[in-house]
Every structure is written in C-alpha cells, then in structure tokens.
C-alpha cells in the first residue's frame, strides 16, 4: 500500500517511484509529497533505499519508474530548470582535491547561476555562517573529513536554493558542528527553505523534522509526524515524578485508575506507567492529589514522550515480525 498525504502546497512530489538495480528492487512504488517549508526527515535501516531516493530527487538517477515533480515540473523533462532551485549535500562529498575551498565554491556558485559580483560576498557569508572562514584559501586535500563535509554544506546553500536535499548531513561531524548544522537548518527553514534529509541519528531527526518518512526494504511504511508515529504505535504512556519529600506512605495508599505500575529507579524518583487508553490528564490529577495526601511533596510531574529512537526500534521490530 502506498502511503501518501496529498496537499496543495507540495513542492516536491514522488508518485509510485520504483527503482531496480538489475533484479534487485531498491524502491517499491514510493509515494510522498514534501510541502513548502517542511523539514522532512527520511529514516530507515541500511540498504532501505534512502540514498537511491535522494539520487532520484537530485536527478543523478534517471532510469526509474513513476514520476518525480518539483512544483509540477518533471525531473525527467525539465531538469535544467529544476536544478537551479536545488541544493544537494551527498553522503560523501567529493571535490577535486587540487582546488582551494574558494575556487571550488566559485565554480559551483557560477554553475548555479550566482553572478560574479555577488558571488564573492556570498562565499564569505556562507563560510562565516558555517564557521570555516579560516580555510577559504586552503586546498581540499589539506582538510579533515568533517571540514570537507562543511565545505559540502557551503556549496549546497551557496546559491540560496528553495529546496535543500541532504544525505546524512551530520554523519562524521563532532557534537558542536552537529549543533551548528541544526541551527543552520532551522534558520533556513524559517526563511522558507524546504529541507529533505536522511539520517541515522534519530535524535537529530526528532530535533529538526516536522515530518518524517520511514523507508523499509524499499517501501515507504510511515509518513507523517513523530506524534503520528507515536499514536500509531500505541505505546503505553509514562509520567515522570520527582518528589522533594518522600514519606513512602503512597506505596500502600496509591490507588489511581489507569495506572499499570509504578517504578522507583532512584530515591525520590517515580516512573508511573499507564494502562493503554488511560486518560493521562485524569491520571496526573488524581496522582498528585493522592501523593500530597500521602504526605509527599512534589517537585516535578511530567509526561514522558517516547523518543523517536524508541518508536523507530519498536516500529521496525513490528515490521520484521509481520
């Protein structure tokens, strides 16, 4: 079954895209839309077909079934027009090693249509934004892998593309650089840039993406928000409680409808697990009331949302069982 969530503000639309490498089917009728301003996280296990999808999106793979459209234009027929709107960061950024960073960016800027006078200023501003102004005149072969990745990012955003397509953009970056990249993505999104990215770092996807797609075995098996996935998985909800004073009386007295179990991982710290379908607001109200009645003092009560990683692992586990 193809997963789709059609919308009139679609920027990019994949319709029943299938791709074979010989007899191996890498993608099976993948259908989804990316809406204007979306930060779309594309996740899935190794070999699921993420990079194949991305290479089709950026016009590197031309032999596939189905259609890919940008603002209604087909990638197969109108690539030269579409390509000006796209910025792309591949999984492994390859530059000719004899180039300096400035020379590489100048060439890619010109090829993307940035005019000569504006280009130098644009290069300076992009390098500064990414925090690599100091390597402007260095040769590519003098740079570390992470820095080459940053130069790759610079070439992707140099021409201010409407759509940014990134294949594992934060792989190989240190935590500080990952944080900076995420800030850049958020800023670009606020400015109206549509971002599509694949990642294995699910915490990054959770931080950034307003929509996600899960690809498994070449099939798109989930499309929506993280909350959609949470609802779909119907995981039991949890409430995290921190007590500033724990009388211990609650152990005998606590009787709240909807609570499955209470776990004490540390002193003064309770994790309250709810039954499926329980009304979390009603449970929290009653829980607070009974804890206070048990002579406890409460410092914090907060519902615990499952991480995307937990949801994803459970989701994949379920898919494997099926």
């Amino acid at each position: 079954m193809a997963v789709s969530d059609s919308n009139v503000s679609d920027v990019v639309g994949l319709d029943s895209v299938s791709k074979f490498y010989g007899r191996f089917q890498a993608l099976d009728k993948v259908t989804f839309e990316i809406h204007k301003g979306d930060i779309f996280g594309y996740i899935g296990p190794n070999g699921a077909g993420k990079t194949t999808t991305i290479k089709i999106l950026v016009g590197l793979l031309k032999k596939f079934d189905g259609s890919v459209r940008y603002d209604g234009l087909s990638v197969k027929d109108s690539w030269m027009m579409i390509s000006k709107k796209i910025g792309y960061l591949p999984q492994a950024t390859g530059f000719q090693e004899w180039r300096t960073v400035n020379h590489a960016l100048t060439t890619f800027g010109k090829l993307s249509g940035v005019s000569g006078s504006a280009l130098a200023g644009r290069i300076d501003s992009v390098l500064e934004r990414i925090g690599i102004s100091d390597i402007k005149d260095k040769k590519i072969n003098q740079l570390s892998g992470g820095t080459v990745q940053k130069v790759g990012m610079a070439q992707a955003i140099l021409h201010e593309p409407e759509i940014l397509i990134l294949d594992e953009p934060m792989a190989g970056l240190d935590p500080k650089s990952r944080f900076e990249f995420k800030e850049i993505f958020k800023d670009l999104s606020k400015g109206g840039t549509t971002i599509f990215f694949s990642s294995h770092i699910l915490s990054d996807v959770q931080d950034l993406a307003n929509r996600i797609g899960i690809l498994n075995g070449g099939r798109l098996t989930h499309l929506g928000t993280v909350v959609d996935l949470e609802e779909r998985m119907k995981l039991p909800k949890e409430v995290d409680v921190v007590l500033s004073k724990d009388s211990g009386k609650w152990r005998n007295k606590l009787s709240v409808r909807g609570i499955r179990e209470v776990v004490e991982p540390d002193p003064h710290h309770l994790i309250v697990r709810l039954e499926k379908g329980a009304d979390i607001d009603a449970v929290v109200d009653e829980l607070i009331r009974q804890l206070l009645a048990s002579d406890c003092r409460i410092r914090k009560v907060s519902p615990v949302a499952p991480t995307l990683e937990e949801l994803y692992m459970r989701y994949l586990g379920g898919a494997e069982q099926q």
Binding site: M80, S83, P90, Q96
Partner: protein, 219 residues
C-alpha cells in the same frame, strides 16, 4: 558558458596537479635526450620529424593515461555529482576533459618541435624548406595521434571503473588506435595532410561514444 568554465577549470587543475609540468618540461627534455642518446645520428631524418613521431606516441599515451586516472578517481569520489545536480550537461564535462588535456599536450608538442628545429638548424647550418615541410607534416601526424589517444583516454576513463584495467587499455588500445593516424601517409607518403582524416574522425566518434556512455551511466 558552462563548457568554457569547465575547460578553464580543467586547465587550472592540470596546471596545479603538475600534469602540465610533466608534459611541457618532460617532453622537450625527451627530445634533447633522444638527440644526444642517438649521438645525433638519426639516419638523416630531421630531428623535428623524429620528435613529432615520438611525441605523437609518447605524449598521446601519457596524456591518455593521465585522463584515465583522473576520470576514474573523480568517478570513485563522486566528484561529478556536484556538477550534475547543477545545470551542467554531461557532454560538457566530457568535452572539457578532452579539450584541456589536448591543449596541454599540443603545447608540449610545439615546444618540443621548436627544440627539434633548433637542433636541426645547428646540425644542418640553417632550416631549409624541406626540413620545414617535413616538420609540418610530422606535426600534423603528431597532433592527429595525440587527438586519437586523448579521446580514447576519455572514453576508457568513463567506461572503466578499475584503474589497472584503464591503464592497460590505454597502453594496448589507445596507443594502437593512435597509430591509425599514420596509415594514410604510409599509403600516400606525399599526402601527409591525410593524417587529419583519422585524426579528426576517430576523436569525434570516440568522444560521441564517451558522451553516450556517460549520459547512460548511473552515478
């Protein structure tokens, strides 16, 4: 405009990666070594003619090998991806590769021939019109051979994914193919310009095939 930009960039690349140095200095040095290596005895053949023939063979194979290695490495590193996601035609990449290395090797040829002419003028006490004529004919042959070898190098680079196979194909394929330029002048020795027929025709065919191969290739 794209082709011009890519061509200038490739030239800069060959300059920065010392390819130009190898061709522009190495080949003229080879000319001088040849002269002194033979003790000046080249059986009455003008030095410039011998230089042109050696250039066509050595220079052609050398530049073809450089092309093959550069294209295979760039394919491996996905260098072309960042070009092709922009409004760049694949044929422009193919042409820029050929044009830049061909220009490099042609300039190396002119430098070496000029040295050959200087040596001839010393040997024969001046440059006579038969020597100039022979040199011109040899130049046509050398340029034709180099064009065939370079275009074969481009094709092999885009076909082969193994460096070893690529280099073997250059040595046995491109080298043999470039000799085709000498065939017409062997049959009609007075019509040296005939070398231009295979010298133009074969590169056009090889480059068209290379463009087709690259167009069909999934990166």
């Amino acid at each position: 405009m794209t082709l011009e930009l890519l061509f200038k960039d490739e030239l800069k690349g060959f300059y920065k990666s010392k390819v130009m140095l190898v061709l522009w200095v190495g080949l003229p040095i080879l000319t001088i070594i040849m002269f002194y290596g033979t003790g000046g005895n080249v059986e009455g053949m003008p030095m410039s003619t011998l230089t042109a023939i050696v250039l066509g063979s050595v220079g052609g194979v050398l530049s073809a090998a450089m092309l093959v290695s550069s294209i295979i490495v760039e394919k491996e590193k996905h260098v072309y991806d960042l070009f092709l996601i922009r409004p760049v035609k694949r044929r422009d990449i193919v042409l820029s590769k050929f044009m830049s290395i061909y220009l490099c090797v042609a300039v190396a040829g002119f430098i070496s021939l000029s040295i050959g002419l200087v040596i001839d003028s010393v040997r024969f006490g001046g440059i006579s019109s038969p020597i100039l004529g022979a040199t011109f004919n040899a130049l046509l042959l050398a340029l034709s051979m180099m064009a065939i070898a370079c275009s074969a190098g481009v094709l092999i680079g885009f076909i082969s994914s193994s460096m070893l196979v690529g280099i073997i194909l250059v040595i046995y394929g491109a080298n043999q193919l470039s000799v085709m330029a000498a065939l017409p002048s062997l049959l009609l020795p007075e019509q040296a310009w005939l070398a231009l027929i295979p010298g133009v025709l074969l590169p056009v065919i090889l480059l068209l095939v290379a463009m087709r191969v690259f167009e069909k290739k999934e990166l």
